[in-house]
């Protein structure tokens, strides 16, 4: 079994494509579309990588940051990546404070995302 990734995004077609792309690269991908579901995955398994969109379905508009804190508390060894269409200096700082290893701007192509994630995985 290859490295495990938790992918959290509320756009189903995006997670469908991303999962399929990474599964062909021998990664195990779990997909969550909202915060509580993602937390349940974190409680149930260990991940090398957690890739999360800043905005998930919810009132906050920044549920992704909440999940970053949650992951850092429970799985400090997991590398976290935050994705967002709007990467302001504030978002970047907030994400880094919560342990994000990378903050990437959407849209990002699958090959570019793949390259960024590969750099974070243990060789």
């Amino acid at each position: 079994m290859g490295p495990r990734i938790l992918l959290v995004d509320d756009e189903e077609a995006i997670t469908f494509a991303t999962r399929r792309y990474f599964e062909r690269r021998a990664l195990h991908v779990d997909v969550a579309s909202e915060l509580e579901q993602a937390k349940a995955f974190v409680a149930g398994g260990t991940y090398e990588l957690v890739v999360v969109d800043l905005r998930l379905t919810g009132a906050l508009g920044a549920e992704g940051l909440d999940l970053l804190s949650h992951v850092r508390e429970r799985q400090p060894d997991a590398k976290c990546v935050l994705l967002s269409a709007y990467v302001s200096a504030e978002v970047e700082r907030a994400a880094r404070e919560r342990g994000a290893a990378l903050v990437l701007r959407k849209p990002i192509s699958l090959p570019d995302l793949g390259e960024a994630l590969t750099g974070l995985l243990p060789r």
Binding site: F16, A17, L110
Partner: protein, 360 residues
């Protein structure tokens, strides 16, 4: 007859005192009369004005508008025509073609009278802001729509990558998938630009050294000038200037100007960037730094010059017409201005941004 002479004297005296410039041209475009205000605005004496060609006096763009086909008795109003001279403020012109009659008797066929005033900088800024506000409501709808399109576009692009990933390049499905990815890439850029024009993010201003902004904008285009002659040359007439601006928006704005200049420039491309303190002030009398991006291309016809900042206006088949619109939106949001003047072989886009007091 006596009455006529009196009338003429009164009219002549009043014309001299009018706060607006009045110039009368004969049918060949030579200046036959200029009042005191006209001479002052144009920086000549009245005697110097007489006999000048309309183009020498007003510059090519205004001249083209003045000499445009006109019917006797017609009155046209133009706004914001740049006048001759590098720092001459734009002017609003009222162009009057007198009906056949007295003037034609004296000046020959087709005389034209031009009445004009300088538009103060403050009014220009207000005009820009009003236009911006007018666009804002529509802009928010467009930006909202664009935002909603982002996710589906990202998904389509992802799916096309998956298709390319899962078949060999020789597979009949590969090329269609590649083309879908390419088209989506184009749409994504368009959507990003629509958001930028319609609802630009509020600028996060800081003190930025201008030469650094210019350098980064040029650097980001290096693949372009790489095969089109030399890199744009940069001259800083006043060194060490910093502006108060959002660095990422300022770089995008400058990048659009240099990109546009490279499109227009001759072959090999000669594009230059000049940085200096501006002689003119921005809103609230704020001193400014002026960055001029100049190209040696064929120039923009006068009739098109006022439209270059309109969203989706382009003369190039492979461009979406949003580059300069985005550049102007960013300039205005950063409390600056973006202006253009153009003559064959010499087109200049000038970005002015608030200067940071003192040297860095």
């Amino acid at each position: 007859m006596i009455l006529h002479a009196t009338e003429a004297a009164i009219a002549g005296a009043l014309l001299q005192e009018l706060p607006a410039g009045v110039v009368v041209l004969d049918g060949s475009g030579q200046v036959r009369y200029a009042n005191r205000s006209a001479a002052e605005i144009m920086g000549h004496t009245r005697a110097e004005c007489l006999g000048l060609g309309v183009e020498r006096l007003f510059g090519a763009e205004a001249a083209a508008e003045i000499l445009r086909e006109h019917a006797p008795g017609e009155r046209r109003l133009t706004t914001r025509l740049p006048l001759r001279g590098e720092d001459a403020p734009p002017a609003g012109l009222s162009i009057v073609t007198p009906a056949h009659g007295q003037l034609a008797d004296v000046l020959g066929a087709r005389p034209v009278a031009v009445i004009f005033r300088e538009i103060e900088e403050q009014r220009l800024v207000e005009e820009d802001l009003r236009r911006l506000e007018g666009q804002a409501a529509l802009g928010r709808i467009v930006a909202g729509l664009a935002h909603e399109l982002r996710n589906p576009l990202a998904a389509i692009q992802g799916l096309s990558f998956v298709m390319m990933d899962e078949c060999a390049e020789s597979d009949p499905a590969f090329e269609p998938a590649r083309r879908i990815a390419e088209l989506v890439e184009r749409m994504t850029r368009l959507v990003g630009a629509c958001v930028a024009v319609g609802n630009p993010a509020p600028p996060r201003t800081e003190s930025c050294p201008v030469d650094g902004l210019v350098e980064q904008a040029i650097e980001s285009l290096s693949p372009r000038w790489g095969h089109r002659g030399q890199a744009p040359s940069v001259t800083a007439e006043d060194g060490g200037l910093s502006v108060e601006a959002d660095p990422s928006q300022a770089i995008q704005c400058l990048r659009a100007l240099v990109d546009n200049a490279l499109d227009a420039a001759g072959d090999p491309a000669r594009v230059s960037v000049r940085i200096r303190r501006s002689d003119r002030r921005l809103a609230r009398a704020q001193p400014a730094v002026r960055v001029e991006v100049r190209d040696d291309g064929p120039g923009i016809p006068g009739s098109l010059l006022s439209r270059v900042f309109e969203p989706f206006f382009t003369t190039k088949p492979d461009r979406n017409g949003l580059g300069l619109a985005v550049a102007q939106a960013f300039a205005l949001r950063n409390r600056g201005t973006l202006e253009v003047r153009s003559a064959p072989g010499d087109t200049v886009f000038a970005l002015s941004l608030p200067v940071v007091a003192g040297r860095r």
